[in-house]
């Protein structure tokens, strides 16, 4: 890794050792008729081997754009305008199309929210897994089919479903089939973009549990993207909270839940009712996420923040700073608390 800017030097490292994926100062822009939208602005994070990093935030916060940037499937009008994405020692942004084709699925695969759109409706699920395998490995059709059956078994689909078409499967089964394809080449990392959002909670729980077992068995890492913060707290090792294209806070899941540092995280946690917590009045957050054609000055959360510091938060942009060994947040209140402002 070369040329790390000063601000990146103090960005969150995951754990000791070299990260599997390292994103530095990533910038993604949508060039729309209304103007340029910085959907992702100077975002940095690492993911280490066998780790689950969750990214949470509301719609339009840039979390899915990050997933698309890391896999290089962004299409115009979206452009990566800055930063670096390293997978071990390979620069993903510098890869040619051929290199990318080989890299995707073998090293890094992706699971999308809508399994119905990810699967080809006119091919059986077996055929689609076989395709994925044969596109990357010099194996016979029979060998590929045997592997496909094995993969379906791994994700909990009975082998008699191998010749079923997507429309013959339930939503949960389709999402399992997509996960089977993502696993086909034993990737080191799987990016999951709202993989269970379209599913009912019971099915979601089954699938999350299966993903966790598969992760422990095969040792891959996961970048898990969702708006459902409670799911992330249960499922991921660390969580990044995105707001308006920026990383507001990142740290170990339990710490984020027990001791959130950014006012946005605190308000977000108080925005959804739980089934076991006290039955208190929940306020949500006033206002709406900003329009990124004209983002707010200073801290982008300040117009909705009830603890904003007058004169500072609307002027000065907060940088991520460390609050505990693996916990970082971008909020001026942190130095106010430290008393060194």
């Amino acid at each position: 890794m070369s040329a790390i800017s000063p601000s990146a030097a103090k960005t969150p490292e995951s754990t000791s050792g070299q990260p599997l994926l390292s994103v530095r100062n990533l910038e993604v822009e949508y060039r729309t008729k209304r103007g340029r939208v910085k959907a992702v602005d100077h975002v940095s994070f690492d993911i280490s081997t066998n780790e689950v990093l969750g990214l949470a935030g509301e719609s339009g916060c840039g979390k899915s754009t990050i997933a698309h940037a890391v896999t290089r499937i962004l299409k115009p009008p979206a452009y990566i305008t800055g930063g670096q994405i390293m997978f071990k020692s390979t620069d993903i942004l510098g890869m040619s199309d051929d290199e990318l084709r080989a890299f995707r699925w073998e090293h890094l695969s992706i699971v999308f929210q809508s399994a119905m759109n990810a699967l080809n409706p006119v091919l059986s699920v077996g055929a689609q897994i076989i395709d994925a395998i044969q596109a990357h490995m010099p194996v016979s059709k029979d060998e590929a089919r045997a592997r496909a059956l094995e993969l379906l078994d791994v994700v909990g689909i009975h082998s008699n479903r191998v010749d079923s078409y997507p429309h013959q499967l339930s939503g949960g089964m389709r999402q399992r089939a997509v996960i089977a394809i993502a696993l086909a080449l034993n990737p080191e990392m799987i990016i999951m973009d709202e993989p269970t959002t379209a599913l009912d909670v019971v099915v979601q729980k089954q699938i999350i549990q299966e993903i966790r077992q598969l992760k422990d068995k095969f040792g891959f890492s996961i970048l898990f993207i969702t708006h459902d913060l409670s799911l992330l707290v249960e499922f991921s090792d660390r969580i990044g909270i995105m707001y308006a294209g920026e990383l507001a806070e990142i740290g170990p899941s339990r710490e984020i839940f027990d001791n959130p540092q950014h006012p946005y995280t605190v308000r977000l946690m108080n925005s959804f009712p739980t089934i076991s917590g006290p039955r208190i009045e929940l306020k949500g957050i006033p206002g709406s996420p900003p329009d990124l054609v004209t983002p707010p000055s200073g801290c982008r959360f300040h117009p909705r923040c009830d603890v904003a510091i007058a004169g500072r938060c609307q002027e000065e942009h907060p940088e991520l700073q460390q609050t505990s060994p693996r916990h970082f947040a971008a909020c001026h209140l942190i130095d106010e608390r430290k008393g060194n402002s």
Partner: protein, 327 residues
């Protein structure tokens, strides 16, 4: 206001079967089977279920968008299904209003907010002159906290956020001064941070206007937050009903227990408990006469597969349909 102990809107043995695959195929989807619901003034009743459980079919029957296959809908004790005339329908809809899930498609993109709110005022004879309509539009916008009202009234739907659009939809429903509001997943398409604002607004309407709400949702935690009573639906059957708090604290029906154990809840601890559940929601065309949950139920008995248990009253506030408790 009149009596709070008499249900204002009641469904009795409401049943809806859809014929599918052409009328010769003989296939029938039993979307809703013998649903009984009572809505009271100033109370929120939640109907919770997974997709395909039939909760949206029930709300559509209550809104009179679908005709039931059998059963009765009583408004203030009078069966409303007997009269399908235009006058009767108009009258019913001025008392029972519906709020839809998707505020992006329930508002007409070519019309301003003002138009959406004026139309029901004119149609239902609440305003005769432009001046009165203006005044009422203003009042409606204030009631849903879209202020300053002169700024919001001339806006088009695309100029509003999802939460603001849903507030316009609520204001439009309020325009006819309804006594019952049927809300079909009113916040599930909104961003997490603005959902509570919309639910809190509806809670204010319940308290201040004495409106009876039916809140249809897949989110049992939000039902606990917003609803006084919660009904749980599975595969076309309402299987349990209880006060919202006692339901989540002590679920009785095995399906309710399964549903609650699947809800992510960090306050309950991390993903430690082993979640074991077999099977999926049954195909509604292949359901027999037994309990629809029998195939997945850890406590299944032989009689569960034969006949659907009848409701067993467990206390003044709760009941369930399960042989574990009687039936």
């Amino acid at each position: 206001m009149s009596d709070h102990n008499e249900p204002i809107l009641e469904a009795r043995n409401l049943t809806k079967h859809f014929n599918v695959g052409g009328f010769l195929s003989g296939k029938v989807v039993r979307a809703v089977q013998d649903a009984n619901i009572k809505l009271y003034r100033g109370r929120v009743t939640a109907l919770v279920g997974e997709s395909g459980s039939g909760k949206s079919t029930i709300i559509r029957m209550l809104a009179r968008l679908y005709d039931p296959t059998s059963g009765e809908i009583l408004f203030k004790g009078k069966n409303v299904l007997q009269d399908n005339g235009r006058k009767a329908m108009l009258d019913y809809r001025s008392r029972v209003q519906m709020i839809f899930q998707d505020p992006f498609s329930s508002l007409n993109p070519v019309h301003r907010v003002r138009y959406h709110l004026e139309r029901p005022l004119y149609i239902h004879g609440k305003a005769k002159t432009k001046a009165i309509a203006n005044e009422q539009v203003d009042a409606l916008l204030r009631r849903v906290s879209l202020t300053p009202t002169e700024e919001f009234a001339p806006k088009f739907p695309h100029q509003l956020s999802g939460g603001q659009r849903q507030r316009v939809a609520i204001a439009r429903a309020l325009a006819v001064e309804p006594e019952v509001m049927l809300a079909d997943e009113p916040v599930s398409m909104l961003d997490v941070s603005i959902r509570m604002g919309v639910l809190n607004l509806m809670a204010v309407l319940r308290d201040e206007q004495d409106i009876a709400f039916l809140y249809v949702t897949h989110d049992i935690a939000s039902a606990r937050y917003f609803a006084d009573e919660t009904l749980v639906m599975y595969a076309g059957h309402i299987v349990e009903g209880a006060g919202s708090e006692e339901l989540v604290k002590e679920p009785k029906h095995p399906y309710t227990q399964l549903l609650l154990s699947a809800v992510p809840d960090p306050a309950r601890g991390l993903l430690t408990q082993d979640f074991q559940v077999k099977g999926e929601i049954p195909n509604l065309t292949e359901l027999g006469q037994g309990c629809p949950f029998a195939a997945r139920c850890p406590h299944v008995m032989e009689k569960c597969r034969q006949t659907m248990p009848r409701p067993t009253k467990l206390s003044e506030t709760r009941w369930t349909k399960c042989y574990l408790y009687g039936g």
